[in-house]
Amino acid sequence: MRVVAARGALLVALLVLWEIVGRASNPLLSVPPSAVLPALRDLLLLRSYPDLPASVLLTLREIAVAYGLAVVVGLACGFALGFNRLIGSAYGPMLAALYAVPAVVWYPSLMLFFGLDAASKIAFGFLLGFFPVTLAVLAGIRQVNPHLVTVARAYGAGPLSVFGRVMVPAMLFTLVAGLRTGLALAVIGVIVGEILGSKRGMGALINHAYGLLRTADYVALVLVTLVLVVGSDVVASLAERRARKWSES
């Protein structure tokens, strides 16, 4: 209780501080919360940016496609690398080395190849989301107790039921955590892509507001985008909890 109160107090104190600093400094550069609220109202009533719903939908669609691809390809790659020892020990380290490269270095090439439209954002979101999914599958397969598989085989379980009844439940925690991280990174990838260069979507609106020094509108747009980010993570955490309950039952 005390902790929650302290968190609330800290939040209020930060807002008050922002208000004081924001009023004192250059209005082009910093806007106090009292100026953000009207901008947010205008934004949500579609007065300042009438194409907000279309932009939100486009960004969400890019995220959905990027994440869907990342899950499918990531699971396929992870199982291929995890089940075949030669392939795994050859390509696993190469994948890990690529993971050590800051992903944004690929973005200019993707932009050149896929253009400024949705495809380059989807490609970048896919690239970011793909790694955690693949690595989680690899880690999950390593977690499965080989004795369980041997016992199941000895009792006559076929490969499919070994996979579905023994392996998947044993690696579920790691797998689901990786899927959640993958979603968070796919979201970040799409947003980074949009801000680094796009014609439509939330990133384009943010760049527009920033370029015209409409700082209050910029802050309001960032808040709306944050709602998308947090919302996607809430959905992911609900799904994670359900998966855990299912595996425990």
Partner: protein, 248 residues
């Protein structure tokens, strides 16, 4: 599984991929405007080599400053917040939230405040690298064996000694893990700023090459940054391994 077979497969598949790529490009199945053949990428290394190395030096310099700041601030803040119970309970959700949100959303504002050039890149790189280090250190401090702290206290250790002689040595593995994670985040942050609002550095070079449709040069530059990044991370891994062997 023999090492020879594994390395053989690695080398073979890289060579096969390059040969396939060269063949596809030469046969004209892909537009060389977008996908240049490896041979023309190799040639592009020579045309942009000097300028790209200078830009890479610029980027790595900014990254180094950001990295030092991120590690010092991250370890300090993680130690301070992690070791005080009330502070940790209150601040933890804020730190996790700041770690998780896409920081690029505040990048336009940082550029408005700090302008174009070195300062926003160093600042954003620091912010990017700070949180992974801080989160790891916070967790490590929380999990330090309580008996160590109690024993040190009962033998009359001062607060300074407690931090310097007990907590800090206990969290060294997490600090090292954070440092390995942090370098990639710092480099990422610096490159993003250079792409968004750069006037120098590798991020700027790459985005202007992309905007100019100079694909061979762009691929060469991308390869150069990737190689540098992999070399840095492998170097850190090596140091890490040496250190942990020395710790016993």
């Amino acid at each position: 599984m023999s090492r020879l077979r594994v390395h053989g497969l690695q080398v073979l598949s890289v060579l096969a991929a390059l040969a396939l790529w060269e063949g596809v490009a030469r046969a004209g199945w892909v537009d060389p405007l977008f996908v240049p053949a490896p041979s023309s990428v190799g040639a592009a290394f020579r045309t942009i080599g000097g300028a790209a190395l200078a830009a890479l030096g610029d980027t790595l310099g900014k990254t180094a400053i950001a990295y030092v700041l991120a590690v010092i601030l991250g370890v300090g803040a993680g130690l301070a917040v992690g070791s005080v119970r009330l502070l940790r309970d209150v601040l933890n959700p804020f730190v996790i939230a700041l770690y998780g949100i896409p920081k690029i959303l505040v990048l336009p504002w940082i550029v408005l405040l700090l302008g174009y050039g070195t300062a926003p890149a160093v600042f954003y790189g620091t912010v990017h690298g700070l949180f992974p280090v801080m989160v790891l250190v916070m967790g490590a401090v929380r999990d330090v064996d309580r008996t160590l702290v109690t024993v040190a206290r009962s033998y009359g250790a001062t607060t300074w000694q407690l931090y310097w002689k007990v907590l800090l040595p206990a969290i060294v593995p997490s600090v090292l893990a954070g440092m390995r994670l942090g370098i990639v985040f710092c480099l990422l942050g610096v490159l993003v700023v250079e792409m968004f609002a750069g006037v120098r550095g590798m991020g700027y070079v790459m985005s202007s090459l992309a905007n100019g449709f100079r694909a061979p040069e762009l691929f060469a530059a991308t390869g150069l940054v990737s190689a540098a990044s992999i070399a840095i991370v492998l170097g850190l891994d090596h140091v890490n391994e040496r250190l942990s062997r020395w710790r016993g």
